[in-house]
């Protein structure tokens, strides 16, 4: 598994760059990932989504999908796509140090 350095911290990630252990995450790591994926700079709305994702994942045991984020974070789908272009579910989880949300296969 590749290890990457974010904000001076070495963290383990999978091939797609998602943290393997979400307890290695810090807000600074999140900022560094955001910069890497081009979601930059992070504003208050970004942070509210990232915080929701982390809290929800801690409660539910899995990363929330985009619909769940839209329903509970107070930011609608369109707003989420403006904040995290192309893939809000995927990008928010990655910045929040969570696994990629489970798609149905």
């Amino acid at each position: 598994m590749p290890a990457r350095e974010y904000a001076g911290r070495v963290v383990e990630t999978n091939d797609e760059g998602f943290l393997l252990d979400s307890s290695q995450w810090t807000p600074e790591v999140g900022e560094a990932i955001a910069r890497e994926v081009g979601v930059w700079p992070l504003n208050e709305r970004h942070w509210s989504v990232v915080t929701f994702c982390r809290e929800d994942a801690a409660r539910e045991g899995q990363s929330p999908g985009v619909r769940r984020i839209a329903r509970h974070s107070g930011i609608d789908m369109k707003g989420l796509y403006q904040l995290f272009p192309k893939g809000p579910g995927k990008l928010a989880s990655r910045i929040a140090g969570l696994p990629k949300p489970q798609g149905c296969v």
Binding site: G65, V66, K78, Y81, C104, V105
Partner: protein, 428 residues
């Protein structure tokens, strides 16, 4: 008298009811609630739009699909009253249960996408996930002389995640046979970042799309349909124009699931991925398309789950905790046109891999590779469905995925924590 009630008589509910009747301890009855008069063979909906020899019979009277001993209540469910362990039916009656299985499936909801269900629905915008929709699409295809045909998955999850790809492969074949393939542009607009959700299969399928000249518009999350401009518009404001739209609309669970407080944001039931017990209530199980599991919404999954659930429900009827576990096993054929098909076999942990199926070395069916015998097997499956699967007869396929014949080693699954017996008890 104790009652096991199953909500929904699709592939999942019917198969389970037929497996359980006669096997439950004495004093137990099996009741299935479903308002529909007929049982639809859903895999047939994919082929119907391309059928040139009239209508195909895809339905059978529901009453004939149950084994003797199964009670069919022909009414729709209004609410699960879990505190009283009973079901409120639309007709006002109550149905008491001791054990309950939610098998109410998933429905397409074109009304979830602004513009989709407008004046052009059934004209330039279609779906093939219902019998009426599939028939209307056949007429539209027959009258299509050229232009841009767009297949669009609005959002995941959907039933049979490979069906949109199959539709494109079959469309490529269909237009070639009509001699107008070069006048038709085929486009696949998907919210996924590739052709499929898992990397190895995605690569194979992507190169097939490319070979057939089908363009992929990836990471496209449909926000609305611009009916006037005949375009899909994504949430990030990209536009994909079409002449003929084949939509795979948003899927949702049954309305009563949500109204009873059992659904997630799409009305699917949060379910333990192994035991298939709902996360909310130990007396309520869920299976098939109705669950929130990451396994495919597919008939094969419903079939494999029915074997696991049969054991877990027989245990529950005796007051025991569930002792069998579902591993996410799924297999499906992927029609690729020109009389060929691929076959994929996978589970929660192992993605579709190349190899042979069901037996190592001898197969006879190749995995993740086009072959005529896969196509014939897919066609033969309709007979298997009505005569073996639905009646709950034994099909010589394990509910658990096997690595035999697949090329890539993978660790074996852990033992069952409930009874600590490991693999051997489950296959007994």
């Amino acid at each position: 008298m104790k009652n096991l009630v199953i909500l929904g008589a699709g592939t999942a509910g019917t198969t389970l009811a037929n497996r359980l009747v006669g096997r439950l301890p004495s004093g137990w009855s099996v009741t299935v609630a479903d308002p529909q008069e007929r049982h639809l063979y859903q895999p047939g909906l994919l082929f119907l739009p391309f059928s040139t020899n009239g209508d195909v019979r895809l339905e059978r009277p529901r009453g004939a699909t149950f084994r003797p001993g199964v009670t069919w209540v022909r009414d729709s469910v209004e609410r699960i009253e879990a505190d009283e362990r009973r079901i409120r039916l639309a007709g006002g009656e109550r149905l008491a249960y001791d054990l309950l299985v939610i098998a109410s499936g998933a429905q397409t909801r074109p009304d979830e996408t602004p513009g989709l269900l407008g004046s052009e629905w059934g004209k330039s915008a279609h779906q093939f996930y219902t019998l009426d929709g599939s028939r209307a699409l056949r007429r539209a295809l027959a009258g299509f002389a050229g232009g841009r045909l767009v297949v669009n998955v609005v959002e995941m999850p959907i039933k049979c995640p490979v069906a949109p790809l199959e539709f494109l492969f079959l469309a490529d074949d269909y237009f070639a046979r009509r001699g107008i393939r070069e006048r038709v542009e085929l486009v696949y607009a998907t919210p996924l970042d590739g052709a499929f959700t898992r990397p190895v299969a995605s690569k194979v399928l992507s190169s097939m799309l490319e070979e057939k000249g089908i363009r992929v518009e990836a990471e496209f999350s449909t926000g609305e349909v611009d009916v006037e401009g005949r375009s899909l518009v994504s949430y990030d404001e990209r536009r994909v124009p079409y002449d003929l739209l084949v939509s795979i609309p948003t899927h949702r669970g049954a309305a009563f699931v949500e109204e009873s407080g059992f659904g997630n944001e799409l009305g699917f039931v949060p379910t333990d991925p192994k035991t298939l017990v709902t996360k909310q209530d130990d007396h309520i199980f869920a299976m098939g398309d109705a669950t929130d599991l990451s396994s495919s919404k597919a008939g094969s999954v419903a079939h494999f789950q029915s074997e696991i659930l049969e054991r877990n429900l027989l245990a529950a009827a005796r007051g025991l905790s569930p002792c069998d576990e579902f591993d996410g096993h799924s297999n499906c054929f992927i029609e690729s046109g020109h009389g060929k098909a691929l076959l994929i076999d996978f589970n929660y942990d192992v993605e579709p891999l190349p190899g042979v199926f069901p037996l190592p070395v001898v197969g006879p069916m190749p995995l993740l590779k086009e072959a005529r015998r896969n196509h014939w097997a897919k066609l033969a499956f309709q007979w298997v469905y009505w005569n073996l699967l639905l009646p709950g007869r034994t099909i010589p396929l394990s509910p658990r995925m096997s690595m035999g014949g697949k090329r890539r080693p993978e660790p074996v699954r852990a033992s069952c924590p409930a009874c600590e017996k490991g693999d051997q008890h489950a296959s007994a």
